[in-house]
Symmetry: C2
Subunit: 472 residues, 2 copies
Amino acid sequence: MSRSTEPARPGLPPLDPRIAARIADRSADHIAELAVLCRLPSISAEGRALRETAEAVADLMRRWGIPGTIVETEDAPAVLARMTGRSPVVLLAYNHYDVQPPDPLEEWTSPPFEPTLRDGRLYARGVADDKGDLLARLAAIEAILHVRGELPIGVVLLVEGQEEIDGPAIQRWIRENPELLACDLAFVEAADLDAGGRPGLILGTRGMCYVELEAHGPPSDLHSSLAAAVENPAWTLVRALATIVDPESGAIRIPGFHDRVRPLTERDRALIAALPDPTASWQQELGIVPPADPAARRRLLEEIVGAPTATICGISGGYAGPGLKTVIPAVARAKIDFRLVPDQDPAEIVELLRAHLDAEGFPEVRIIVHTQDGLPARTPSDDPWVERVAALTEAWYGAPPAIWPNSPGGIVMEPFIRGLGVPTMFGGVRPAGGRYHAPDEFLVVDSFAPAARFFAWLLERLGDDPPVARRG
Amino acid sequence: MSRSTEPARPGLPPLDPRIAARIADRSADHIAELAVLCRLPSISAEGRALRETAEAVADLMRRWGIPGTIVETEDAPAVLARMTGRSPVVLLAYNHYDVQPPDPLEEWTSPPFEPTLRDGRLYARGVADDKGDLLARLAAIEAILHVRGELPIGVVLLVEGQEEIDGPAIQRWIRENPELLACDLAFVEAADLDAGGRPGLILGTRGMCYVELEAHGPPSDLHSSLAAAVENPAWTLVRALATIVDPESGAIRIPGFHDRVRPLTERDRALIAALPDPTASWQQELGIVPPADPAARRRLLEEIVGAPTATICGISGGYAGPGLKTVIPAVARAKIDFRLVPDQDPAEIVELLRAHLDAEGFPEVRIIVHTQDGLPARTPSDDPWVERVAALTEAWYGAPPAIWPNSPGGIVMEPFIRGLGVPTMFGGVRPAGGRYHAPDEFLVVDSFAPAARFFAWLLERLGDDPPVARRG
């Protein structure tokens, strides 16, 4: 394990070696506490173990000297801790304790809620996204408090339990409690080091609406000899779904869908062009083969950053067991996520989808809205706090961060960017991990302490000569 | 319970009252034995409990004086019994001991393999299709043997275990063992009395091929933020499926699909026109509403009898749990049955489907063939044995049978019609029941003894003055 406390590019003070030592000394304890949290199946999609996990997080904070308290949102409890520092600068760090469902279960090498160490990796659902990240931050703060008894800057920690389902309540809660959350800048989760060891910084989020299309047929599954007489909801659903995308290109053809898409700026494109090629690791990490042509890969990356998508996440209906069964299904369903970009409005997209299905002759296909609260938002890349964080990150890691103008995924950034009005980054660097949302999610154990050390150093340096006066 | 032993239209001898009394005396035992058989989950699609059930059937036969023996096919054991009679006429009766899978399990009022009596109905998977039917025949034969010590005509009983999946082995076995099965006519399962008490007689079968279309995407489910970069197999499947049917009418548009469809003859149409309207009970029995216009209902019936269909029996892929999960599925699948009519060839239909998908740009969509062995076939409605059976049925029930030139469903008739070359009918009358292949399948207990009595009487009368000399 690296014992570095120095920025890779000299010129700034090192991390206090006592803080680094404290993090190192407690390493086994950190991983043990992480494993304890990962045993809790805090699956927000199923409403499981959420209060238990929130209380475990608050309890852990208090044991580490951090004044964590439960705050109630309309959905699930969150954990809030507010600490002052020597500097008036305040950083808000947002993480989440909920996790994605673990299925397909049979593809896990070890059970998802039985954290298992293999070859230096800890495997569990949520170990990387986002419990490991959270614990690295808590470990940094614990070490600073242990050594110094106070923090260099003010810190607000907000840890919530509906992130994986874009729960709307935390977003309302943020908007309704600006005084509890007053800050100069916000970090949401934390970015990964890429395969080349280069840190990331993400400035915006895609939004999302997630709907289920449901077609109904006979009141129960019927013998398929009646197929000529009964509308088959699986065929209805297939025909309705087929109208959503262009049969050739797969482009989304819901009228009005693209109207509010804010094109990438020239600066956004330049930042994207400067990114290390993220597709390089796809074949090894994901088993998918990117285009061979570099220009095609760059265009693909611009799409991933800046274009909306429609994904059938699940489709079901009728008999799915082994062998064959000759039935007309009673119902057929498709779960679809629409990932949106600034300035699309998820609720409006649902309305456009309804209008489209009606116009295409499918008024009987129901739309069940799982969420339409994932709002897209973007922090300008020329914000002074963005530049400060980028400079500190570069100083520590010796490489400029890979700045993504917008995340390919959805992040709870909009309430901070538009609700609190502060520059917000998917920033700081999390422990290395992977297979988020997929079987065999993992965290590289030896990356935990370096991530904690960097966060501790960042806290110390963010109070130096603040680039802008406190807002609001 | 009716104690009738007389034909409803006099002129023919009644059923020997001792035989009727024997059937009545053993009624409780018959239902108890039926319940024992229905406890065996003989699901051919899952290969469950097949040998155990075959042996239970053979054992029951022997306990009832019928020389049942196991015969091995390449798939599953069958049960064969061959008995001579006073008359040289030989009737082959074919039934099956296998059943459809019971799901959706949550829609059963009582568990499918725990036979349960409610309001005079016995509920269990297979109780009507086809174990009740089989037991009514065995009960009739047992009663005749008990009273007389011999049968009036020769009887061959063949009970197999792959009917619900159109297992090909029994069809080969029938073709390869004509000497064991030599007969003058064949009954396959048995027809229902309709809601008005009118018996049925079915002269032909639809065929079937059952395929699974499978589209593959990433090696495991991936985070949907990569949707722009990864081919989603659910979209691929939807777009491929959508090419199979006309978007407006739902008509099958695979080139060549309809080429071999033998149109219904004028006589077939007349028979269909004379059928009591089967759609009358749909709303109550199936919860589906037939067209209001009688001419439209008649056209629908001609379609059900004479036109091929394509049914999505099941579709699956990705996340189907509660709430939402944002993944690109690794694989998406659709199970499809094509119900075919004479003289379509199921193997050829699979080839046409492959060619169609290739031509439409989906060479990567795999076709897994579950069966292409369900061959359509039809016995001419002017066959003398058809006329004899129809006349006897009419004499007993006092109403002409509803003669269906072709079944809406698939029946193992082709090996008898084309393999053995004998007139074959879905004939005789089974106990009343319903919800075949669906949850809450049932048999009306009080209809069991009347069905057994009719079969006993039919055996007695089929040897009178045979309409044609023994074939072959």
